[in-house]
């Protein structure tokens, strides 16, 4: 039997004495997908960083593919928000994707033809083969997010961590991103994404973890994200629509 992609046991993490997120327990199988849902400041990013081994655990354990996070780094790809990156940076789309190969390439070496082929293939997968030589900053928000997704694809990781991948992204790019995520999951890659977009969470993820500094629910998305729990988590920000579905406005 293969190890789960991600196992969280009583995870409490943060800097200093005040934990940013407390007592999260759950697992994501290989090929599985988890939406981290919660309001701003709920600890979604901290939890992702804890899985990356970048934020100290105050309590509990994180296991990535059966190993501690620090030992599983080559297997984990992180997709940041495109908005967080400097648009004036003099770098092409292909060069950004190549960064996904850096760890495999190793210190003191330059990416070779095989790495460039993988990067080009990854760009093609997100529908941006024609923009390889374009400067990253000249692409639209959605296209930049797709480039960052291609970087994760080129890394050939087994676990993908995404921080708000659909914020400020047009519908075309959202469709491409969802399609790529589906393809990766079919290949057995596990996906964890922080998002406050509930409709995308339902489209992309089988499971959900609802957090608001502590875990509110963890499980199959329909059961985890009930109207009642969303109201409890988001307060007045959660609105129940006529059809029975809940949206979050906060």
């Amino acid at each position: 039997m293969t190890a789960a992609a991600l196992v969280l046991r009583g995870v409490t993490a943060g800097y200093g004495r005040e934990p940013a997120v407390e007592d999260v327990t759950g697992r994501v199988e290989q090929g599985g997908s988890l939406a981290l849902v919660g309001p701003n400041g709920a600890g979604k990013s901290t939890l992702i960083k804890a899985v990356l081994g970048l934020v100290p655990l105050l309590q509990g354990t994180v296991e990535v593919l059966g190993r501690p996070p620090a030992q599983a780094r080559g297997q984990v790809a992180y997709v940041p928000q495109a908005e967080a990156l400097d648009r004036s940076f003099p770098i092409t789309a292909l060069q950004v994707v190549l960064m996904g190969r850096y760890r495999t390439v190793g210190w003191l070496r330059r990416p070779g033809p095989a790495d460039k082929a993988l990067a080009a293939e990854a760009l093609e997968r997100v529908g941006l083969a024609g923009r390889a030589a374009s400067r990253f900053g000249t692409l639209s928000g959605g296209q930049r997010q797709r480039v960052l997704m291609a970087r994760a694809v080129a890394q050939q990781a087994r676990l993908l961590l995404l921080d708000e991948p659909f914020t400020g992204v047009d519908t075309t790019s959202t469709d491409v991103l969802l399609e790529v995520l589906d393809g990766l999951r079919a290949d057995g890659v596990a996906v964890v994404m922080a998002t406050h977009d509930l409709s995308v969470a339902h489209l992309a993820c089988g499971d959900a973890c609802l957090i608001n500094r502590r875990q509110v629910a963890f499980g199959p998305i329909q059961e985890a994200l009930t109207a009642e729990r969303l109201r409890e988590t988001y307060g007045a920000g959660a609105v129940v629509l006529a059809g029975g579905s809940t949206i979050v406005t906060a």
Binding site: Y15, M99, P111
Partner: protein
């Protein structure tokens, strides 16, 4: 033709002028490679700070009659390490730590220098350098420092680029981000040390920051920017030194050569910036 040759080539038939040009070209290479990294990291201010923190080291060495180079090296290394120790605590931001270091170190330097009899002239030399007094040994030392500094940056090129572009992504890939920062700061310290005797602590920033900023305006891609910045410094060094020589020899006008080179670099930056604007407007 002959006139142009007399104006631009003849000055460098004089050995001390040729040596000055060699040093400017060498510093331009390190300044180009390092300056582009600093620009991408928006770290120009660290350079500004370090050039002042080497001051007490140089001053102590001067008063004690020791090698200025060693003094500068020690002070630069101490300040880089102190900076990293101070900013380890997230509550201390880099700006405050730098301000604290600069004030303390510069004051220390002034105290030491003021005890020296030749206070004025030594202070001027430290601040503005003596580019025409460079000897063969200094050239060799500068070349060594330039090769070491630029070599480290070329070797760590892709890691430093990733760290500048996407620090979170770099950390997620398992790169030691803090150590990469330390390496970059140490190379800044190396550059300060390499440049302090020739161009002085004040003019150094022009070598590190301005050529890179100009190159960014007209070069695509990071390696092209580095080459462009180095070439710009070499060209401006040539023109600036020639102009200073002509003014002094033929017109009895004493213009500080190091400062003239910096003026040339700044002028080049302004011309390139204006040209970029015009080109953008014409599109």
């Amino acid at each position: 033709m002959a006139g142009l040759r007399r104006l631009l080539l003849d000055p460098f038939a004089v050995p001390f002028m040729a040596r000055a040009l060699v040093v400017v070209v060498l510093l331009g290479i390190l300044g180009g490679v390092l300056g582009v990294h600093l620009l991408l990291r928006r770290k120009a201010f660290v350079t500004e700070a370090l050039q002042h923190t080497v001051f007490p080291g140089v001053a102590v060495a001067f008063v004690a009659g020791q090698s200025l180079l060693v003094g500068a090296e020690v002070a630069a290394a101490v300040s880089v390490v102190l900076l990293h120790v101070l900013t380890r605590d997230d509550r201390v931001d880099t700006d405050s730590a730098l301000a604290l270091l600069v004030a303390t170190f510069f004051a220390l330097g002034v105290v030491v220098v003021s005890r020296s009899d030749s206070f004025q002239s030594s202070l001027t030399a430290l601040l503005f350098g003596r580019i025409l007094a460079v000897d063969a040994r200094q050239i060799a030392e500068t070349a060594l420092l330039v090769v070491a500094g630029a070599g480290v940056l070329v070797a760590l090129h892709k890691e430093l680029l990733l760290r500048a572009f996407d620090p979170a992504g770099g950390a997620a890939l398992g790169y030691p981000v803090r150590r990469l920062d330390l390496v970059l700061d140490l190379v800044v310290a190396l550059a300060v040390v390499a440049a302090v005797r020739a161009v002085g602590t004040v003019l150094l920033v022009a070598f590190l920051v301005t050529p890179a900023a100009a190159a960014r305006l007209w070069c695509r891609g990071v390696p092209a920017m580095m080459v462009g910045a180095a070439a710009l410094t070499a060209l401006c060094g040539w023109l600036g030194l020639a102009a200073s020589y002509q003014a002094s020899v033929h017109h009895g006008l004493r213009l500080a050569p190091g400062a003239l080179v910096v003026v040339a670099i700044t002028a080049a930056f302004l011309v390139i910036a204006a040209a970029t604007r015009v080109r953008a407007a014409l599109r």
